[in-house]
Symmetry: C2
Subunit: 406 residues, 2 copies
């Protein structure tokens, strides 16, 4: 069994880095705070004598050698980066639970047969750099290294530059080696476990995600003398498209999701009709056909609104992460561990993307969820029960041991 | 008669300061570019030997003494600041037409009875600092000096600080002295004169304007796992309110105006429902009852949308400039001048706010409009015919001479 108090203490210590006044964390990918978080993590890893490698995407691989060092390792990991107004658990819990597993084995002098590896993936959130999960995505071969290094934040700084700046541009190639199995533990970030009063989610897959940059091109003009009928007002087009799309998404299915996370008008002067409005859009659905329907609806409605308003609407797809089904044996390993530990549990599909999505391209994978208060995540008030975090970490330990052998 | 070629040359020289790649100007209030524009203007004024005073709001008063220096002066003026993507004529034309009047009288050795004063008002656009026309507004007693100095731009820099920084925080009190009459010449910024093929607008008044900061307060949450029904999404509320309000404004009357010039989501991360969305809203109508109707409609609809979406909507009125009717004798002086010069002309109400609105609180005022291409303004492509600019300047000269006497 792991040490729940030590896990909690490590979570709280990490949460001080980038702590926000409202009790959350702002430790966005490849910022100074991310560097501090990585440094603290590596210090903890050195204390238990693990070997560390860093790849060209800044992904950190921590290895605890097994008795058969050539056997493919059993892997766990998640991310240390947060949303700009993120919480203390999203991602961090998966990393520090992995560390707690290694610490526990070290304490108890347990040597596994296969080696264990703990990974910190770069820029999972997709908040500073788009798309999400790009560290694991490049590593798994979904994106090229050039693409990864070239992604820029709103100020124009790129992942490549920022990796070099904070000293985490590693030497290892960002590419997979054989892996026996991989597990990731994470807070659910949704309301199901809490509502059902269950402690462990046995994650069978991840829903599909498509990201878009939607730009509405209007004609700037004066707020006063210009008749309404003579305007090409990008905000009119934005309002009409969003109104229709929200209605359609909600009517289509309870499983469909639409989020307009960012919005910006240029030049942004109150008495000038904007020249353009930029919208960052996120659509999701657990089934490929459902996601395809939302995708086609977006393009169709954009055409209709363009027609109706005279505002040119440019819809550029930025990212597509299709629905993923996890490995049945890894799912079973999680299910068995939850049973063995006497934890109430249910099978479920993840609503959020995770590094496990890309890891699952090259290795057998499953995930473990624990409840978070009110299902709230990507919010500074994100919170989770120490008991639940301990239970999830014990499930991780048992699943990893089952697959690594002792 | 004024020298149209010299007027045009001065406009083009001023337009180099803050020139944008798309052929417009970005010379926002109290920036380095505004300082350069003011410096150039003062150099031109010194060349014709005028006395210059600067007040505590950075308003510049240029005086050409008359033969009865104690008689209240006849005043003209406008502004040198621009929108972030503004044109070469909005405001600047009124200032440089005033300069051209003074240059012409100097050339021809004409001494007026009453003195003439040419004013450059600070921050007319309201683009960098809200509200618009604040230099003339403080001077006329609509706002206190403390209020004026305290207004901040998006980065937090205040008018007081920026006036000091660029060296235009003058010593004179920002308060009016007796004025015989005031005239302001400006491009129309709307399509009427061009459509009617007329050269001079005799401006009888200015429509009413109300500005609002509308803030939609949502609950940040994750774009994936959070069910649509559990969200308080400020973008849903924004879209619904804008959709309804645009429809109502367009249905209410052809004279009504609604502009959403600025829009911003916080924290602005694609996979997080925003915590808040801020909208800068501008409503206008020529009649007080019409503007009041739009105002009440906004508050009523905001309540309805708040009810429907669960998103708290905070509507804060930022500025109210009621409809203004100009002085009948000044209107007549412009009308007479246009007739005497044989210019086609029509009476009209201004759709844009102008410094003349606040000057009219303390002095008899009227304005002169000339056409601009396609009625386009607050746009880098803003353009006007040299002939029309010359005609407007001659009307200004004649109206000022008629009121100042020779
Ligand atoms: N777990 C998590 O918050 N991932 C961010 C990627 C996503 O948008 O789902
Ligand atoms: N003339 C002009 O563009 N003034 C700006 C104030 C307004 O918004 O009407």
């Amino acid at each position: 069994r792991i040490d729940g108090a030590r896990l909690w203490a490590s979570l709280m210590e990490m949460a001080r880095i980038g702590a926000t006044p409202a009790g959350g964390c702002n430790r966005q990918a490849l910022t100074d705070e991310d560097k501090q978080g990585r440094d603290l993590f590596l210090q903890w890893c050195r204390e238990i004598g693990c070997e560390v490698r860093i790849d060209r995407m800044g992904n950190i691989f921590v290895r605890r050698a097994g008795s058969e060092p050539d056997a493919p390792p059993v892997v766990t990991g998640s991310h240390l980066d947060t949303q700009p107004t993120g919480g203390k658990f999203d991602g961090v819990y998966g990393v520090l639970a992995g560390l707690e597993v290694l610490r526990t084995l070290e304490d108890q002098g347990v040597r596994t047969r296969a080696s264990l590896e703990l990974v910190v993936w770069t820029n999972e959130e997709g908040a500073r750099f788009s798309p999400a999960m790009i560290g694991s995505g490049v590593w798994a071969g979904e994106f090229s290294l050039e693409y990864g290094h070239g992604r820029a934040d709103k100020s124009g700084a790129t992942i490549g530059e920022e990796l070099r700046r904070i000293g985490y541009l590693g030497e290892e190639p960002a590419e997979p080696k054989p892996i026996a199995a991989a597990f990731e533990v994470h807070i659910e970030q949704g309301p199901i476990l809490e509502k059902k009063n269950e402690v462990i989610g046995v994650v069978t897959g991840v829903q599909g995600i498509r990201w878009y940059d939607v730009t509405f091109h209007g004609t700037p003009c004066h707020a006063g003398p210009t008749p309404m009928a003579d305007r090409r007002d990008p905000v009119q087009a934005l309002a009409l498209l969003c109104e229709r799309l929200y209605s359609e998404v909600k009517a289509y299915s309870d499983d469909a999701r639409m989020t307009c996370g960012d919005l910006r008008a240029e030049p942004g002067s109150r008495n000038t009709v904007p020249e353009k409005v930029a919208l960052a859009l996120d659509l999701r659905h657990p089934q490929p056909e459902g996601l395809e329907h939302l995708h086609r609806t977006l393009y169709r409605m954009a055409d209709q609104v363009e027609e109706a308003t005279g505002v040119a609407i440019d819809v550029r797809e930025e990212w597509h992460s299709p629905p993923v089904v996890f490995d049945s044996q890894c799912i079973e390993a999680v299910d068995d561990a939850a049973k063995a530990l006497g934890c109430s549990h249910r099978k479920m599909v993840s609503g959020a993307g995770h590094d496990s999505v890309y890891v699952s391209r090259v290795a057998p994978v499953s995930m473990i969820f624990v409840p978070c208060a009110g299902g709230l995540s990507h919010n500074e008030a994100e919170s989770a029960e120490p008991d639940h975090l301990e239970a999830g970490c014990n499930v991780l330990l048992q699943a990893m041991l089952a697959r690594a052998g002792t």
